[in-house]
Symmetry: C2
Subunit: 212 residues, 2 copies
């Protein structure tokens, strides 16, 4: 499988076009944990993550939080505001120091009309993301608990931004992301460790053979 990072919008854009985009949008830098936009926001535009990570989820008025996904460097978001005329579906916030290039919907419209390359790059990332999402959905239906845990960990690695192959993640967060209980995930992780696939640490998990 091709590394996921090579399928990001930033990687697919030719350098000159990337420069044009930078000149046509505005770059904003966020500290860790800053709000980027709220669910329901109508402002349309495309954002590209120059560095850092963005976490998407929904804050319930009651105070609970449901995480949807995390995107890393090179990825774009906001396609739904451009192509579905939909408001933001999630609350978004920075994870770690993060820089975003944001281009308004009108500007994107103009740029796409002038640069076929831009549409092509967007088509490529979206297709990759669609097939990745279909793959995730398929795994949820058919794969064993252990396989799902392993695949999820490998996906996190591929999303990039982590040193070595050590994921700084708690078992309870993993459980939540997978829709399982902590006990159940703990057992699966134990099995994977016994198979030599991972090494469990305190608040971290190391993938021993990341390329597989």
């Amino acid at each position: 499988m091709t590394p996921f990072t090579e399928t990001t919008l930033a990687h697919l854009l030719p350098a000159p076009l990337m420069r044009t985009l930078k000149a046509s949008g505005r770059t904003t830098t966020y500290a860790d944990g800053q709000f980027i936009h709220n669910r329901g926001n109508q402002e349309a535009g495309l954002s590209i993550i120059l560095f850092g990570h963005v976490r998407f989820g929904i804050y319930d008025p009651a105070g609970s939080y449901t995480q949807a996904s995390i995107l890393g460097e090179g990825h774009c978001f906001g396609e739904a505001t451009l192509f579905m005329d939909a408001p933001r579906a999630y609350d978004a916030e920075s994870l770690g120091s993060t820089s975003l290039l944001t281009i308004s919907a009108e500007m994107m419209k103009r740029l796409m009309a002038d640069h076929a390359d831009l549409s092509q790059a967007l088509l490529r990332t979206l297709t990759h993301r669609l097939y990745a999402a279909l793959d995730v959905a398929d795994d949820l239906r058919t794969a064993s608990k252990e396989d799902r845990v392993e695949k999820h960990l490998r996906r996190l690695i591929q999303m990039g931004g982590f040193d070595d192959n050590v994921l700084p993640i708690r078992q309870i967060d993993l459980a939540f992301a997978l829709g399982l209980s902590r006990v159940s995930v703990g057992k699966a992780l134990d099995t994977l460790q016994n198979r030599g696939v991972i090494r469990l640490g305190y608040g971290e998990i190391e993938i021993l053979s990341p390329s597989e």
Copy 2:
């Protein structure tokens, strides 16, 4: 929620462009159950379903079959061959009398260069399908069994091609599509029927309030 049919490629293409596509590709009609392409096939191109349905899945050499999805009228497939340079991921066959418009990869490249509308329409469908897939994946993780069954049935209705609101589907197929056992799905269907959401029949399920 917007009906899913309005987000298909065919619905998003302006009529003149659709005519151009028809003139640039070839139209093939299949009887029920004919093979369209095999998994691993390298021939790249985009297909649009003019009428009928296409079922995607994988035939195991051992004889077993794993269904991935079914697409109906107006939908396109083959994006992965254009935008990911990937071979066909699934075996595809017709469900009922089905007609396809197929356009080669080279021709698509030329058409997209000339017609920005084509790229835009593709971006719109793919974005819709991406968000639909993310929604499915999210439901698999978080929703109750009953909710998953109900949402799946509503999705099948929205994919269109069925008279009334009666789905000709066996409980065992539903179970497979949802990654649950027949007993488990039977219980969920019973609950939904008691709630007045559906009516169970022999080899069919009627959705009583399809618009909700």
